[in-house]
């Protein structure tokens, strides 16, 4: 069956919506993260229980993508189709399943963990007072079964594409996106409408739309969540983009390390093609669009658009100088638009609801929402989507529930290895592209790593730089050699071997790398160093001048000692992997510093807090 007109699409959606439903819908979080946490076993238990208790007609089980509740996986949600009541369980075990199903939506099963709904799972696409999250990008993720196109169609899926190709000219589509103020969510924040306009203005028989799904920032996983949870949204938006710029081929460049996303994309493409929503003469408009998938082999730099294009072409994945910009000379030297997953995920909603609606969310310069992958020392790790302009405090302390284990907040790193850290002083800054830039960080793809008082900022900078070091393509001198030298200097600092001029050298080298590196990866690679230096120079100086790591992280600079609180229980002595602790029973033990490897096992083991870290 093919759907050949917007009317047919609407009729089909209405028919799907009015289908009789079972009383309870049970959503099981089957994203990669959920599966890793054990959702598959829970799902098995659910099917078993349903079969044993003959609940087939009472409960509709739907496997969905990530709900964004990483800290509570495995997660399941029960929705009462009649009342709309929703109940979310976290940390679910297969053993809890019978009780949960028995309780249904009317009561909470004993011995389980439920999650406050409003913080995590607001109504879709709208921001309500008291609910900091607003979902545009993640509107279907964790809600619809990504492997069943009918769920997407029932929810007005492909209506935006239908509207674009049958009621709008390509220029109108571009004007709409321009008016919405949508900016590239992959990092730089370049206005999407302008990018499309550049490509549309090129005279060429062949053009390309590329979806950059080479997500690689440490701690960022929103693109994976969208592709695993809502692939059709991306496909639909790519087709809209193709219509706007005059491209008939879309390419999704996705990391091969995302097998589940790849599988769901393949299923989604096939299902969309079967219904004629992709392929030839879409909605009888004369517009053809097909989408293919290309795999990345796991190089962060291939997220840079010229490198990505070279990789698709089978060349070494490394950037080249712009101009020429891909919009003029991209894939196979044809005009090409490269947008990332999250950017595409906004497009359909804008087409359906208009630019004004999109601009009603977010800030004047950065309309819409942003998805953040909240990770690190925050209590509730997860995927959150908030309107631009939300403060860091609302995200970390509101949605994220503050810092784990009652420790003190120290900083948040945004923008991954290209970004910088944000300190308590800026917790109340409304976050958008410009605001983050002004404080020495950047939006990046939306990784948000929370650090507490136990994090050494020199070590954090070293961590991010090490990532860049591994991921640099090695093409240009500043990135290839400069970052290596930066890393070596940081290493000297964390090992207490650095000379006093190291800070100056770090600053000079950082400035040169920013000023001279070929691509965005290199140009932003010194940011973690510069930003930690700007905000925590005293920590650097403590390492350099006093050979001291204030956070007690840098192994070469700390020592463990046993205080007089020691009762001589012998536990640390038994656990020490290098046998450097000695002492008679019931007598105070001591550590042989010359043999200690500073693994910290004694510190963690001691029940009497007798092992002290200096």
């Amino acid at each position: 069956m093919k759907i050949t007109s917007p009317e047919e699409l609407a009729q089909n959606a209405a028919a799907l919506k009015s289908r009789p439903r079972k009383p309870i819908k049970l959503l099981v979080s089957m994203g990669t993260c959920g599966i890793a946490a054990g959702t598959a076993a829970v799902l098995k238990a659910i099917h078993q229980e349903i079969a044993e208790r003959n609940l087939e007609n009472a409960i509709e089980v739907s496997e969905v993508g990530c709900m964004g509740l990483c800290h509570a996986e495995p997660v399941i949600m029960l929705a009462d189709e009649a009342t709309g009541e929703k109940l979310i369980y976290g940390d679910v075990t297969p053993e809890q399943v019978p009780a949960i199903l028995a309780a249904g939506t009317s009561s909470i099963a004993p011995g389980t963990r439920t999650l406050e709904r409003n913080w995590y799972y607001p109504e879709f696409e709208t921001a309500k007072p008291g609910e900091p999250q607003a979902r545009i990008v993640l509107r279907n993720t964790g809600r619809l079964n990504p492997e069943n196109i009918e769920e997407y169609l029932a929810d007005d899926g492909y209506a935006a594409l239908a509207k674009a190709v049958t009621q709008m000219t390509p220029q109108q589509v571009i004007d709409l996106i321009t008016a919405s103020g949508l900016r590239g969510r992959g990092g730089g924040g370049f206005p999407t409408g302008r990018k499309w306009q550049f490509a549309a203005d090129q005279k060429s028989e062949e053009k390309f739309i590329i979806c950059n799904a080479d997500e690689g920032d440490p701690g960022a996983f929103m693109d994976r969540a969208v592709l695993e949870g809502d692939p059709h949204t991306v496909l639909e938006a790519m087709a809209i983009g193709g219509y706007a710029i005059g491209a008939h081929t879309g390419v999704i460049y996705i990391r091969a390390e995302y097998p589940l996303a790849v599988r769901r994309l393949e299923i989604a493409i096939r299902q969309a093609e079967e219904l004629g929503l992709l392929g030839r003469n879409i909605f009888d408009s004369g517009f053809d669009f097909r989408i293919e998938i290309k795999y990345g082999a796991g190089a962060f730099v291939c997220g840079e658009e010229t490198a990505l294009i070279h990789s698709i072409e089978g060349k070494r994945g490394e950037p080249t100088v712009k101009p020429p910009f891909p919009a003029v000379e991209g894939l196979w030297k044809k005009p090409t638009v490269v947008n990332n997953v999250e950017t595409y995920a906004c497009v359909g909603a804008i087409v359906r609801k208009g630019a004004e609606w999109f601009r009603s969310l977010g800030t004047a310069g950065s309309p819409g929402t942003k998805v953040f992958a909240l990770a690190g020392k925050v209590a509730k790790v997860g995927l959150v989507e908030v309107p631009m302009g939300t403060t860091l405090r609302d995200i970390v302390f509101g949605i994220g529930g503050g810092i784990k284990n009652g420790r003190a907040f120290k900083a948040v790193q945004t923008g991954g290895p290209s970004g910088g850290c944000i300190t308590p002083a800026n917790l109340d800054l409304p976050i958008d592209y410009e605001a983050l830039k002004s404080i020495g960080s950047m939006m990046g793809s939306g990784g948000m790593i929370v650090m507490d008082e136990d994090d050494c900022m020199v070590n954090i900078a070293k961590f991010f730089l090490e990532f860049t070091l591994d991921e640099s393509c090695g093409k240009c001198t500043p990135c290839r050699i400069g970052n290596r030298r930066m890393y070596e200097m940081l290493n000297e600092i964390t090992e207490g071997r650095a000379s006093l001029d190291v800070i100056d050298r770090l600053k000079t080298l950082s400035a040169t790398i920013k000023d001279t590196a070929l691509c965005g990866l290199g140009q932003t690679s010194p940011n973690p160093v510069l930003s930690t230096l700007a905000n925590f120079e005293d920590e650097y100086l403590a390492h350099v001048k006093d050979s001291r790591c204030p956070a007690g992280v840098c192994a070469k600079l700390i020592r463990y000692e046993i205080s007089d609180r020691c009762v001589g229980c012998g536990l640390c002595l038994h656990r020490c992997p290098v046998n450097c602790i000695s002492g008679e029973r019931k007598m105070r033990h001591r550590i042989d510093q010359s043999r200690c490897i500073k693994c910290g096992v004694c510190f963690q083991t001691c029940k009497f807090h007798a092992v002290e870290k200096h």
């Binding site: 190089a299 730099v301 070494r316 490394e318 080249t320 100088v321 101009p323 070091l469 591994d470 991921e471 640099s472 393509c473 090695g474 093409k475 240009c476 001198t477 500043p478 290839r480 050699i481 400069g482 970052n483 290596r484 030298r485 070596e488 050298r505 000079t508 080298l509 040169t512 920013k514 000023d515 001279t516 590196a517 070929l518 140009q523």
Partner: protein, 578 residues
């Protein structure tokens, strides 16, 4: 519409598509470059913008711009020597040197190194950044090219030479980050790859990462071995380039000085590869005429160039019936020396050492091919490049520019104008046409300048009428051009009877063993002109009119193409496709 911009306050107007660097050149403002490599006459413009040494400040641009690859734009204001630009350039150089061995004194590119020159120009005397340096095993696996990756600066010029120009595809970026380096896939030794040893990568390499395998010492040893009679042959292109190594202007014909120098070095006989080039023409032209008469195995392809032959064996083995079976002049010389000359001079072949001086690195490989040995004795024992000979002359303290003109020894030192143009693209074919025309016409023709096949163009085509016989010929140099032509032949889109192919763009005058031109192609043009000048000045300009050649056939070989000539002077090719 030209583009108007200002550099250091000076207005300049350039054609659209020009870079800041080109605009600066117009103003004679020098911006230092390192990875940039341009050879206009071969349409090579390598601007990977990877070294970042050419960064300049552009008003309104947030970061510095690489001048080599940033297009000039209307109204642009460029400043090349602001403190910001100077600091950046110094830091970049500092970083490059922090991962580069500082053993310039013993580097094969000492005083020919562009990184060294840059350090000197920029006056960097103190390094701020120190740290781990890359270490790789040296690749000395082949007879021709030495690779010392510790010195690689990732300019990627060799990669452009190997891939874009030559389409050999052996060298490419391998590894990433600090471990990125240019190498064959899997860091394989060169000898195990499809490398044809053309040496264009060595010419392109600005530092000591790529150089020739050095055979100077074995030559010194042979020269000092009283049991050996050491015979030297010099290839046509050597005489028009070696002077450059001693400060003579490019395009000087230094044949006489070179002969004197060789004699002073202690070579017992100073002979000329040109003699063997004439011999090659005798055999190859005989074959050409036979094939035209029979209409079989056409077109005939020249076989003088070992790089090209190896390229064919790897890339187009289905066409190995096409090249002439005639050995290259170097190998014919070796074979004749160890038979005819040995007999004549009464020296046992095993007591003869044949040394070649070649503009080429692939000749080192060719001489070592097993089919060019008999009973364990190689026809050509040692091959050195023009550069190595210059080094030997310098090492011996010989003041090259002051030398008297010497004469080649007889009989293998006598040659014609047809032979000397072997050193330029098109020369072999022109020499063959001169002989073929005479033979077909049966007379001594006076119109012998086939100018249609001259010049540095990559692919040249000409129709030649000899006594009513219309010949379609083509000449190409550079293996990328050869690939294009061969693909056309395979598709049946080309109809030629004879094609000359040389691996190096421009032919042997631009060989991998020649003095480094560092991208200055005016030097190549001058070498080219010198070869044709030399041809013009020769009393005999047709190979078959070389009296020593005539005597060789009369006394020893019989007829061109005879059974004995075939035994000594012809060879066969190997399918090397894996």
């Amino acid at each position: 519409m030209n583009i108007n911009l200002k550099i250091n306050g000076q207005p300049v107007s350039v054609a659209p598509g020009s870079t800041i660097l080109e605009a600066a050149e117009k103003l004679e403002i020098k911006i230092p470059t390192l990875c940039h490599f341009k050879m206009d006459c071969f349409h090579v413009d390598h601007r990977s913008a990877s070294c970042r040494i050419c960064v300049v400040e552009v008003k309104g641009r947030p970061n510095l711009a690489p001048a080599c690859s940033t297009p000039a734009a209307e109204g642009m204001e460029v400043h090349t020597n602001t403190l910001r630009a100077i600091n950046a350039r110094r830091t970049i150089l500092d970083l490059l040197l922090s991962d580069h061995p500082k053993d310039c004194l013993i580097c094969p590119k000492n005083l020919n190194c562009q990184l060294q020159a840059l350090a000197q120009e920029m006056g960097l005397h103190h390094l701020l950044y120190k740290g781990e340096q890359s270490t790789y095993n040296k690749d000395l696996s082949s007879q021709a090219i030495a690779r010392d990756l510790d010195k690689c600066i990732m300019c990627r010029r060799c990669e452009t030479a190997c891939n874009a120009i030559q389409t050999v595809g052996v060298l490419s970026g391998v590894g990433r980050g600090f471990n990125a380096v240019v190498a064959p896939a899997g860091l394989k030794p060169l000898a195990e790859t499809e490398c044809v040893f053309c040496g264009q990568c060595v010419q392109a390499c600005p530092v000591g990462a790529l150089s020739e395998i050095d055979y100077k010492y074995p030559v010194w040893r042979a020269l000092n071995d009283p049991a050996k009679t050491v015979v030297v042959q010099t290839a046509p292109a050597v005489r028009v380039a070696i002077g450059e190594a001693f400060g003579l202007p490019p395009g000087s014909v230094s044949t006489g000085k070179m002969v004197t120098a060789l004699r002073m070095l202690g070579f017992d006989r100073v002979f000329d590869t040109d003699f063997a080039a004439d011999l090659t023409i005798m055999e190859e032209t005989t074959e050409l005429i036979e094939r035209i008469k029979s209409g079989r195995n056409l077109p005939i392809l020249t076989s003088c160039c070992p790089g090209w032959v190896k390229f064919l064996e790897h890339q187009f083995p289905e066409l190995i019936y096409m090249p002439s079976t005639a050995k290259s002049p170097q190998q014919m010389f070796g074979a004749i020396t160890k038979t005819y000359f040995a007999q004549k001079a009464g020296i046992a072949p095993e007591n003869l050492t044949v040394v070649s001086v070649m503009p080429c690195l692939s000749k080192k490989y060719e001489a070592a091919r097993e089919e060019f040995s008999r009973d364990g004795i190689r026809d050509v024992d040692i091959v050195i490049s023009t550069r190595e000979l210059a080094d030997m002359i310098r090492e011996a303290g010989i003041q090259f520019d002051q030398l008297e003109e010497g004469e080649y020894d007889s009989p293998l030192g006598e040659s014609t104008g047809a032979a000397v143009i072997f050193g330029a693209t098109g020369g072999v074919l022109e020499a063959a046409l001169r002989t073929a025309a005479d033979w077909i016409a049966g007379e001594d023709l006076q119109e012998i300048d086939f100018t249609g096949v001259r010049g540095l163009d990559g692919i040249k085509e000409a129709a030649v009428n000899i006594n009513g016989l219309e010949l379609h010929v083509a000449v190409c140099s550079g293996l990328g051009n050869a690939r294009k032509l061969l693909e056309k032949i395979q598709k049946g889109e080309a109809d030629y009877q004879a094609i000359e192919i040389m691996a190096c763009p421009g032919g042997c005058l631009n060989g991998g063993g020649q003095p480094y031109h560092h991208g200055d192609t005016t030097i190549l043009q001058k070498r080219l002109e010198a070869l044709y000048r030399d041809d013009k000045s020769q009393p005999v300009r047709k190979s078959h009119r070389n009296p020593s050649i005539q005597r060789l056939y009369a006394e020893f070989l019989g007829e061109p193409g005879s059974h004995f000539a075939h035994q000594l002077l012809h060879t066969a090719y190997v399918d090397r496709r894996k």
